[in-house]
């Protein structure tokens, strides 16, 4: 397995991957042969120096990633022992998104640091009849690592590979180890901030890298059919797409790591706050929530974040702070927060007048939404009735009223 540096596209800090390369346009990239216990596997290998940047970030920064922080963000303790310099980035291309015996995995990209280079091996199913060899070669490489980093690999990449291993009855399973799925992490951290969390969109929005002439994922399945029929043009584009995916995964990991020690912007702060809260680090969490909320009204964290922040404030006794947040949320139509606010006003602040006002508003809100018969609606009706009774009792005179 030689270092194919003579085939590496560029050695400078350019951010573009050349579409042409050995083999010329319109043909399969050059593949080396690899021996396995089930025959010959075909792999394309490229490598980059660690100074190479993808989306402004040098690949070499992988060496400084702190798995402890990542495990906090993902709430996955299995990630802690990960050594980022020793991580295997994995991304597959298939003939479709369905499950079942008819789905083929035809390209598996594996990325990792070796020495002072970042290597990407692309295992290609040159002939479906040689699938056992293809799978063996992938598993052989995978076993060298403590775990994998993927994007939605938990629901897609890993199970599909397992399916093919089962179909071919290899009597071998995928290696154990950690599995850091950056898609779950992205959802936790950046969901409110970006409309789309696809890898390509995050790459552009977060890392500032825009691909040129990238083959859309939806066209990859058809490219394999075309290749089998003798047209090798489209499949080249799939190789390139897969290569960019692997590099993106790597720098996304670096970027995610940064969130855990220097979050920027309200979303990252709120996400880290939630992770800290779940790990029991309450005061750190509170500080970060406070910082996140300062960004209101522009650049807001999501409602979910704000509700969590308010809940934490309430738990820590800062009802006033919590109520401010609930008040803002109710102004935006979040009736769950209205409920919290009404409860606080009625039972903690004794402000029955405002509590009644909130209850009336909320009831009208629910009725307008045709929530007839729902439990929440009845809950509001009861609350309103109870508050009115209390206020009426108070007006009779303190001796006969009950304020609680």
């Amino acid at each position: 397995m030689g270092d194919a540096s003579s085939q590496a596209p560029h050695d400078r800090d350019s951010t573009r991957i050349s579409p042409s390369g050995p083999g010329g346009n319109g043909k399969l990239p050059a593949l080396e042969q690899r021996e396995t216990s089930r025959g010959i596997a075909y792999v394309r290998q490229v490598s980059f120096p660690l100074s190479r940047r993808h989306g402004r970030m040098p690949l070499g920064d992988l060496r400084w990633v702190q798995p402890g922080g990542l495990s906090l963000l993902t709430r996955d303790p299995a990630v802690k022992p990960m050594r980022p310099a020793d991580a295997l980035f994995l991304d597959i291309e298939t003939t479709g998104l369905m499950t079942g015996a008819g789905l083929l995995v035809f390209l598996v990209g594996l990325g990792y640091i070796r020495g002072n280079r970042f290597v990407v091996e692309q295992h290609f199913l040159k002939d479906p009849a040689n699938e056992p060899a293809f799978l063996e070669a992938i598993l052989d490489r995978w076993e060298d690592f403590g775990g994998i980093v993927t994007y939605n690999g938990r629901r897609f990449d890993r199970p599909r590979i397992l399916d093919r291993i089962q179909f071919q009855r290899l009597n071998r399973s995928v290696p154990d180890g950690y599995h850091l799925d950056l898609f779950s992490l992205a959802r936790r951290v950046w969901r409110g901030e970006f409309d789309s969390l696809s890898l390509v969109d995050l790459e552009a929005g977060l890392l500032g890298y825009v691909r040129e002439d990238d083959m859309p994922g939806a066209l990859c399945p058809a490219a394999y059919a075309a290749y089998l029929r003798g047209d090798e043009g489209p499949i080249r584009d799939v190789f390139r797409h897969n290569l960019e995916d692997i590099l993106s995964l790597a720098v996304l990991l670096i970027r995610a790591d940064r969130v855990s020690h220097s979050p920027s912007g309200p979303y990252e702060e709120a996400a880290l706050a939630m992770g800290l809260e779940d790990a029991g680090k309450v005061s750190d969490a509170l500080a970060l929530y406070g910082s996140a909320l300062k960004h209101l009204p522009s650049g807001l964290p999501t409602r979910g974040h704000r509700r969590r922040a308010a809940a934490l404030y309430r738990r820590c006794g800062e009802i006033g702070r919590a109520s401010e947040i609930w008040d803002e949320l109710w102004k935006e139509g979040d009736v769950r927060s209205a409920r919290q606010l009404a409860i606080a006003l009625e039972h903690r602040f004794g402000n029955l007048k405002r509590a009644e006002q909130i209850a009336r508003e909320a009831l009208r809100f629910m009725q307008d939404r045709d929530a007839r018969g729902s439990r929440a609606l009845r809950d509001w009706e009861k609350r309103l009735a109870r508050i009115r009774k209390k206020r009426a009792a108070l007006r009779q005179g303190p001796a006969r009223g009950r304020s609680r």
Binding site: T95, G96, L97, G100, A101, A225, L228
Partner: protein
């Protein structure tokens, strides 16, 4: 697990497409037992035969060749049906081990109300009367009726009856295929536990599901086949003790024929069950599914389908449908979807409408596309468990209907018209005066209007149009061409000739199930006084399912016997000039309709 109990649907969409997850099962598969194979008839049976082909193919891939064992109720061709379903030679073992308690069988013909027009009391009313008696005696009773709407009507009647007697109306339950699964499970366990005293059902409760042993079984009309009749009758007194089976005759030809020829039930030959696994639509769909499961190699057969025919379909899937791609003699699945989802085992076309409650948004039932223009058009009354909904909107393109609970006192019945074009004549036989054909036709059916019919009085309250697209398909048919001279001699060009033609056609259609196990609704009728192709009157009997499943072919083969039974029915009917039990009422076929039909039948024989 050592034993897997499953059904064709699960095999089709769950197990076979994901067979690598079932490696242990397939590697050690020894026996496959298929129960109730007499129910695998027509389209459904044709699909299941193909699922079995796929099963054998997958098992063989894992090195297994299981032994097949099939079980059937009484039909005339258990061996050949099994062989067609399984694709292997089978040996018949005939011996029944089922315990039988004493069973009394009553054939009850409702009283004649107006003999000259052959009008008998309505069979559903008679059933309703009897229901009161059985309920008074605390006898757990099952009522089998023919159609889903009859289930709704009778359930409603019975609930009202129970209410009037001061009993809880929920001890009466209706049951049919369109109900959602939770509801059906609830009713089944209510029957087993005895909390449900009366259940009204279509043939959905005929087989399989354990509902315990009931005291009485009432059949609202002949169920359409002897095997169904005995299955339904078997719901009473399964294990021991006395039980009663009571069949109430409807005022139609078959029921009346049986009422006067009870030997048909007790001594007659059971029907044949026909399937057509090589129906091109059905076969291609399953070959597609099989190609997803395992790539096809050059020269591979599929069940008993020879390699050349497999190749032809594989070539189509590769070149035209672009679903498979060949490499090194092997055809791989390269399309980005999973085929079994789009293949229904009950139709040749998966296309169901869902009916939603307009108030709650919940789904309340499903209707297959060909039936939708007739059952859930706008304005239709649609029933679930005796609850009436009126369909207020139907979005044909998105296959969604919305119904609102209503209290109206009527139900609806839709009517339509059908046009036939001859595509190809496969077989021809010349009778003495007429010509018989069997071949392929193009059928276009249009729902036209619906009538509103008041409950109980059955008054016609008016009609309204239905504006929905026609249903079109190619299928197989059996048709009779009556030369113009003959037609003139018989009187078909007289003012009511069209009605007589229709009456004879219906009679023919209704007699097909006496020879072939089929749901009578699967054989359809169309007539023309002037057919485009032959310029003469024609009667067409066609398969309801696209590309046909063998019904029209069988009808062509037994045409002599069918015509003879029709002749007997008309000759023996006591009515003067036509009634629903023979050719139709004088209103439908004209004052001379019966005589006209009689002479027509004579010429057909």
């Amino acid at each position: 697990g050592q034993i897997i109990v499953t059904n064709p649907y699960m095999l089709h969409t769950g197990i076979l497409p994901n067979h690598p997850k079932w490696t242990n099962l397939f590697q050690s598969l020894r026996y496959v037992v298929i129960d109730e194979i007499h129910s695998y008839s027509g389209v459904f049976g044709s699909h299941v035969a193909n699922v079995i082909r796929r099963l054998r193919r997958v098992a063989s891939h894992y090195g297994s060749e299981p032994q097949f064992i099939t079980c059937s109720a009484t039909i005339s061709n258990p061996k050949s049906l099994s062989e067609e379903l399984v694709g292997l030679p089978m040996e018949l073992i005939q011996r029944s081990g089922a315990p039988r308690g004493e069973k009394e069988f009553i054939l009850y013909n409702p009283p004649m109300v107006e003999p000259s027009i052959g009008l008998r009391a309505n069979h559903l009313e008679e059933v309703r009367r009897l229901a009161g008696t059985f309920a008074d005696l605390g006898l757990q009773t099952i009522f089998f009726v023919r159609t889903r709407s009859q289930v709704e009507v009778l359930t409603r009647y019975l609930k009202e009856l129970y209410e009037r007697k001061g009993w809880p109306p929920d001890r009466v339950r209706g049951y049919r295929g369109g109900y959602l699964p939770n509801l059906r499970r609830e009713i089944e366990s209510g029957l087993r536990e005895g909390t449900v005293l009366a259940v009204v059902s279509t043939n959905a409760l005929e087989l399989g599901i354990d509902i315990g042993s009931l005291d009485v079984c009432v059949l609202g009309g002949y169920p359409g086949s002897l095997s169904s009749l005995w299955q339904q009758a078997g719901r009473a007194g399964r294990r021991s003790g006395r039980s009663l089976v009571l069949m109430v005759g409807k005022s139609n030809a078959i029921d009346q024929y049986i009422m006067s020829h009870p030997e048909y039930i007790f001594d007659g030959t059971p029907e044949e069950v026909r399937i057509h696994p090589n129906n091109p639509l059905i076969l291609t769909n399953h070959l597609k599914c099989s190609a997803f499961e395992l790539p096809f190699r050059k020269g591979e057969p599929f069940g008993d389908l020879p390699p050349e025919e497999v190749s032809e379909i594989v070539r189509y899937l590769e070149r035209t449908a672009r679903i498979l791609t060949e490499r090194g003699g092997v055809h791989y699945w390269t399309a980005p979807f999973y085929p079994a989802e789009g293949v229904s085992l009950e139709a040749t076309d998966l296309d169901n409408f869902v009916v939603h409650d307009a108030e709650t948004g919940a789904a309340i039932g499903t209707v297959d596309r060909p039936s939708a223009p007739f059952l859930c058009h706008e304005g239709a009354i649609y029933g679930v468990q005796g609850e009436i909904y009126q369909i207020e909107s139907l979005n044909y393109d998105s296959r969604v209907a919305r119904g609102r609970r209503t209290d109206v006192d009527y139900y609806t019945e839709a009517e339509g018209s059908t046009e036939i074009q001859i595509l190809h004549e496969d077989r021809e036989a010349r009778g003495d005066s007429v010509v018989f054909y069997q071949g392929d036709v193009f059928v276009s059916t249009q729902a036209i209007l619906y009538k509103k019919i008041r409950f109980y009085t059955r008054e016609n309250l008016g009609a309204a149009p239905i504006r929905l697209p026609p249903e079109e398909m190619d299928t197989t048919a059996f048709w009779i061409v009556i030369p113009r001279l003959v037609a003139a001699r018989v009187g078909l060009y007289d003012s009511h000739g069209g009605g007589a033609l229709l009456g004879v056609g219906h009679l023919l259609r209704r007699c097909v199930p006496l020879f072939l196990r089929t749901d009578p609704a699967d054989v359809r009728l169309a007539t023309e006084i002037v057919s485009k192709k032959y310029d003469s009157p024609c009667i067409y009997l066609y398969d309801r399912y696209p590309s046909g499943v063998g019904l029209a072919e069988k009808a062509f083969e037994v045409r002599g016997a069918i015509l003879e039974v029709c002749r007997q029915i008309v000759a023996e009917c006591p009515c003067k000039s036509g009634c629903p039990a023979c050719t139709g009422t004088p209103m439908e076929v004209g004052p001379r309709g019966k005589a006209l039909s009689r002479s027509l039948i004579e010429t057909l024989i």
